[in-house]
Assembly symmetry: C2
Homo-oligomer: 315 residues x 2
């Protein structure tokens, strides 16, 4: 039996075939030219059926098709409620898909799908895992008892938008002081640039090649070069990161928090150990036998496809 | 069939008999004189059996005994890990209890039990409810899919200890800027006193009778009397309250958040409507059909007993 996963992005649609060991065995990619919700539903069916044809797989060998959207979904009704970057509003995707192929269809949010992928690929059986993706914003996917938790309306799991600095920086969501304003990859880039402007002699200038070239790796490279200003940036950044992680642990005490996204590539073993001890210090459950383990995400860019496919396993 | 619930407090043990309609039909109370964990386990068995005797109920008519402790528990192993105000560490309460009566025993944290009570008494079937108790601190009990969520080690659901003011007021938990430092009943009392000292002409002085007499109701009474300083205190307090509530909604999008504890008595219909619209304004899911509903908790002091009893229903 196989599971098909489709990761819907603003630019591309990526489909994959996942086997019973949760391994990705084939993929297919196509640019998204959005015309209408109707046409997009057709394209999704084309992709899934094309993936079968290309790999010589029968429809009967597929248990389910899962799709991850950059927005909120109503899985029970098979409807995508709203997406970011694609003009989808209340798209009855399961219904459209079923005109072409009557297979069980599951819908999920893309960050939630990625978390589900990490959950099944952790290597040992878990009860709970939270994936925190440090990218343009902070995405969080919450898996409890093997199920995605996205609330009563599919809008849950927006962990980047918990306020940690009351009255702080304006966030795109309308609130002030959201975690992602301080601990996303974009925030780290802003913090790096500000420190460079304040420290003309910092190694961050050489490492990056200039303000325009700064990215999430700049500060990590400059710290390795022994730069004091970079160290201060990183320390402050990690403080903000820890603040949100500790909030999550005090609420959930999950077995695992996996860190993904651009910034996570900069986190070497030493920094992960620092993060782990900082959060344990701050959180409830210091005396507990079982504590939340911080790890780096394992699946990278395929997490979305694999996780979408595994929506059918999670149910 | 009946369910027995025991609410373990630092001063009293309260036991209750709950029927199949989740109604409390009899109670029993005894002061807690803690000598040893062994003796306390015996007392708990005495209370449960005494409750049966006093009400002419047979052991065979009882489905389960649930106990709520002010601390963390390992329900699977039947062990209380640690409590506040009672010197319990790793108490095998199920084992001790079973020497006297071999009935299924369930353990829970007291705030979680109260949330479970509110969940079953909501009046309609829910998937998710979070109880936020605004008292000395802020307690939160999280019910998802009808089950208490207390994490991998029983220490979860400490929602009062999410930092909303980075680097803010020192909290007893070791962190700085926890929600309960700003939005608990104790915080409101501190904020009221500070405003009184700054405003010698405020009606808060008459209403309370002086700094020593200030409680969580003072500010509400002074606002009703039209006092401007009290209005400012309340507005600021509600801002802090909303900040944490909005964090919870962005994470969970629960069907219901119930507000309990001392402060909730001051929240009349108008203030509840204000709170509801403030949080909806701030949160994700503005366009969703289903939104989190803010309500006042219904069960008051009996929530702990009823919820402990219903641990056996929730399973």
């Amino acid at each position: 039996m196989y599971y098909i996963g489709i990761d819907v992005g603003g630019t591309n649609l990526k489909a994959g075939l996942v086997d019973e060991n949760y391994q990705l065995v084939a993929t297919k990619k196509t640019p998204l030219h959005f015309v209408s919700m109707e046409q997009m539903g057709e394209t999704l069916a084309d992709m899934a059926l094309g993936l079968l044809e290309e790999n010589g797989i029968e429809r009967s060998q597929v248990a389910s098709v899962g799709m991850g959207f950059p927005g909120s979904v109503d899985n029970r009704r098979g409807v995508v409620i709203k997406t970011v970057n694609i003009p989808i509003r209340f798209m009855p995707v399961a219904e459209i898909f079923h005109r072409r192929w009557d297979v069980p269809v599951y819908l999920g949010n893309d960050a939630d799908c990625a978390a589900l992928g990490e959950y099944y690929h952790y290597g040992e059986k878990l009860e709970s895992l939270i994936l925190v993706t440090l990218g343009t914003g902070i995405g969080t996917g919450i898996i409890l008892n093997g199920k995605i938790q996205s609330g009563c309306n599919g809008f849950g799991g927006e962990g980047g938008h918990i306020v940690i600095v009351h009255g702080g920086e304006q966030c795109t969501c309308g609130r002030k002081g959201c975690w992602e304003r301080y601990a996303s990859a974009s925030a780290l880039v802003r913090q790096t640039k500000a420190a460079m402007e304040a420290n003309p002699a910092s190694a961050m200038w050489q490492v990056s090649g200039g303000l325009e070239q700064v990215d999430g790796r700049t500060v990590f490279a400059a710290v390795r070069a022994g730069d004091a200003a970079a160290k201060a940036v990183l320390e402050q950044y990690l403080d903000y990161l820890v603040e949100g992680l500790a909030n999550f642990i005090n609420i959930f005490q999950p077995e695992v928090i996996a860190l993904g996204g651009g910034v996570s590539h900069g986190l070497d073993e030493e920094l992960m150990a620092t993060l782990q001890s900082k959060v344990l210090e701050l959180c409830f459950g210091r005396e507990a036998e079982r504590r939340t383990k911080l790890v780096k995400a394992r699946l990278g860019n395929d997490a979305g496809i694999i996780g979408a496919a595994l929506l059918g396993v999670s149910g």
